[in-house]
Amino acid sequence: MSDILLEVSDIRASAGDKEILKGVSLIIKKGEVHVLMGPNGAGKSTFANVIMAHPGYTVTKGSIFFEGADISRESADQRARRGIFMSFQQAVEIPGITLENFIRSSKAAVTGQNQPILKFRKQLYSYMDALDMKRAYAGRYLNVGFSGGEKKKSEILQMSALEPKLAILDETDSGLDVDAVKIVSEGVKRLLDGERSVLIITHHQRILQALAPDFVHVLVGGRILMDSGASLVEKIASEGYKWLSEEALV
């Protein structure tokens, strides 16, 4: 069996009348850590949302395969049940549902198995402890009144509990202090077992230093302009993206 987890081929996608992704291809194999960088407005978040089947984007061309199956027409929940996870830049607040009940429902949906309350809680608490997240948050309404940092941790907590095959982290490290970035990257590390893969969308080097990516992709103007090894990260850190755009224009 192939070790290809995700295969995105020549995806074009638009929001309303505006085309944002202009033919993006990407292959992620099992166990790999990929990084997607690029200037603001390049389409990074769109790319993540298109993989997760956000209904706000229309895919006009191209295909997405996951573990050899064409998932191009599948809805977000179907893709999630296959093992794709996306951490949100802006986690949604949903009153009336506790974080614990929500994750338990999700876990049951993703695994197809009921989650016994006490057993699940024990596991959830262990993940929370590892993320240095107060256990009391389990009983609070989903993301309601959480600070920016707490919301990010809530996302990583969900990822830890759901154990996806592919985790897409959309700027999960943004707005976090050094310690929090460390805790988050530790959480991601724990997920990586040689089989599971991660796609990290970020502006910052810090999380990449901790996670040692295998590949770096740079998205500019709806196209991937460069695929490279980890060394690219440093060049972007010192010189920004401008040189890439110029190169692309030539």
Partner: protein, 467 residues
């Protein structure tokens, strides 16, 4: 992949659609003095109650339908079987209840509910109470919990002093109708200083095509007493128009505390024109918890007269209007005494073309110095074809008041649905989850089995829904 993935108990729609063959011992069509006399005779009522009924009939004939609110012109009393008495007489134990009636109740879990935590059950089947029990310890405390009919016979002085003195037949046309043909219901009397530890429950159910239900609930709390009364309604579906014009009268004495909880799930062809009103004394506390799910049209605005100084009222309600439903609900507070306080907090959901109207009325009387009132309503529309209206009225006759009103109307957030779906939860489950969360402030006020029922009713609305 299995169909149900979220951790929500499986729903058996048939629970709510149980239908037994109508087998009535007594039926009347239309309405006139002769029918009233027949009803009264059938019940072996004293003369004074018959007179009251006939007077109410006169008032009914004088009054017009309310000029406001949803369209209720379809209600034609001449076509409604106004009074149906099941073959069963009053039973004091579950074993004596006839089999088909028992089946209906069994499917609604009544005996189980009683076994668990309920102090007494007065379940109404059609118009006559067929099952009624009260635990011995309640009797020891001197608490009376009997059918309304029995109260008329056994406690005539208490009934005469209170019956339709809170909601008078002149209140509106359907109150007058109720006074004329009321049948069934509960009577509760809690003596001074007695705290009823467990909630009392009554379960109403309507089970005959075209049958109206006109049950009367009269609760009297003496000074310093305490009670939680739960009224649950669930009715099977029928093709003929049904009318519910019940009446709830609550007298809360000085320093007493009453919580009145209701879940209404009438069949989707029911006209629910129910009147509920409470008069509360000095330093007393009245709490309403109300969930309205069923019926074709509802007009329901529980009213509280804050008569005594320092009395407080809290109303918490949720209304869910789906296809073909117009649920016009809300609450009314009349501040008479000084330092009185009312809080009205509601949530409404409309979906698939349903219309949810929130209507509140707060009156601050001349003498109600330093009164406080807060009204807040939040509406959630699940699609573009549904409707939500907010009609608050405030009538202030005193300058020393503190008033607040807040209204929020919104649509279900696409981002929220996507967020839940991205965690593997199906679209319909995601929507149900969001709505359950929205209704949570009410659910948490309900006893567990009612909260579960409310959640099931919400889930039912999303079962098989497309998009």
């Amino acid at each position: 992949m299995a169909e149900r993935k979220t951790q929500i108990a499986d729903i058996d729609r048939s629970i709510y659609d149980v239908k037994n063959a109508p087998d009535a011992a007594f039926q009347t069509l239309g309405l006139n003095g002769d029918i009233i006399r027949e009803i009264s005779k059938e019940k072996n009522e004293p003369e004074w109650m018959l007179e009251f009924r006939l007077k109410s009939l006169d008032v009914y004939n004088q009054l017009d339908l309310p000029p406001w609110g949803p369209d209720i012109s379809e209600v034609n009393l001449d076509n409604i079987v106004s009074y149906i008495k099941p073959k069963a007489g009053l039973s004091s134990s579950w074993e004596e209840v006839p089999e088909d009636i028992k089946n209906t109740f069994d499917r609604l879990g009544i005996p189980e509910a009683e076994k668990q935590s309920l102090a007494g059950v007065g379940a109404q089947y059609d118009s006559e109470v067929v099952y009624h029990s009260i635990q011995a310890e309640l009797e020891k405390q001197g608490v009376v919990y009997i059918t309304m009919e029995q109260a008329v016979r056994d406690y005539p002085e208490l009934v005469k002093a209170h019956f339709m003195k809170c909601v008078t037949p002149r209140e509106h046309k359907f109150a007058a109708l109720h006074g004329a043909i009321w049948s069934g219901g509960s009577f509760v009397h809690v003596p001074e200083g007695v705290e009823v530890a467990m909630p009392l429950q009554s379960y109403f159910r309507l089970n005959a095509p075209g049958a109206g239900q006109f049950e009367h609930t009269l609760i009297i709390l003496e000074k310093g007493s305490k009670l939680h009364f739960i009224e649950g309604c669930s009715a099977p579906k029928y093709s003929v128009i049904n009318l519910h014009a019940g009446c709830v009268e609550l007298f809360v004495g000085d320093g007493a505390s009453l919580r009145y909880s209701t879940i209404e799930n009438w069949s989707k062809n029911m006209y629910n024109l129910n009147t509920k009103k409470s008069i509360i004394g000095k330093g007393s506390k009245m709490e309403w918890v109300s969930g309205s799910f069923g019926s074709k049209v509802s007009m329901l605005y529980p009213q509280t007269v804050l008569q005594g100084d320092n009395s407080t009222m809290e109303f918490t309600g949720v209304t869910f209007a789906a296809a073909g439903q117009c649920l016009d609900t809300g609450a009314k507070a009349v501040h008479v005494g000084k330092n009185t306080s009312s809080t009205i907090n509601t949530k409404s959901v409309s979906k698939s073309g349903g219309a949810a109207v929130f209507r509140s009325a707060v009156r601050i009387g001349e003498k109600a110095d330093n009164s406080k009132s807060t009204v807040s309503c939040e509406s959630l529309m699940l699609d573009n074809i549904s409707r939500s209206d907010t009609i608050p009225a405030i009538d202030v006759h005193n300058s020393l008041v503190d008033l607040g009103h807040e209204a929020k109307i919104g649509r279900i957030s696409e981002d929220a649905i996507f967020y839940l779906m991205s965690r593997g939860i199906k679209e319909t489950d995601a929507k149900a989850m969001i709505v359950r969360g929205f209704a949570e402030p009410v659910a948490k006020e309900l006893p567990l089995e009612y909260a579960v029922e409310m959640n099931n009713l919400i889930n039912l609305e999303f079962e098989g829904a497309i998009g």
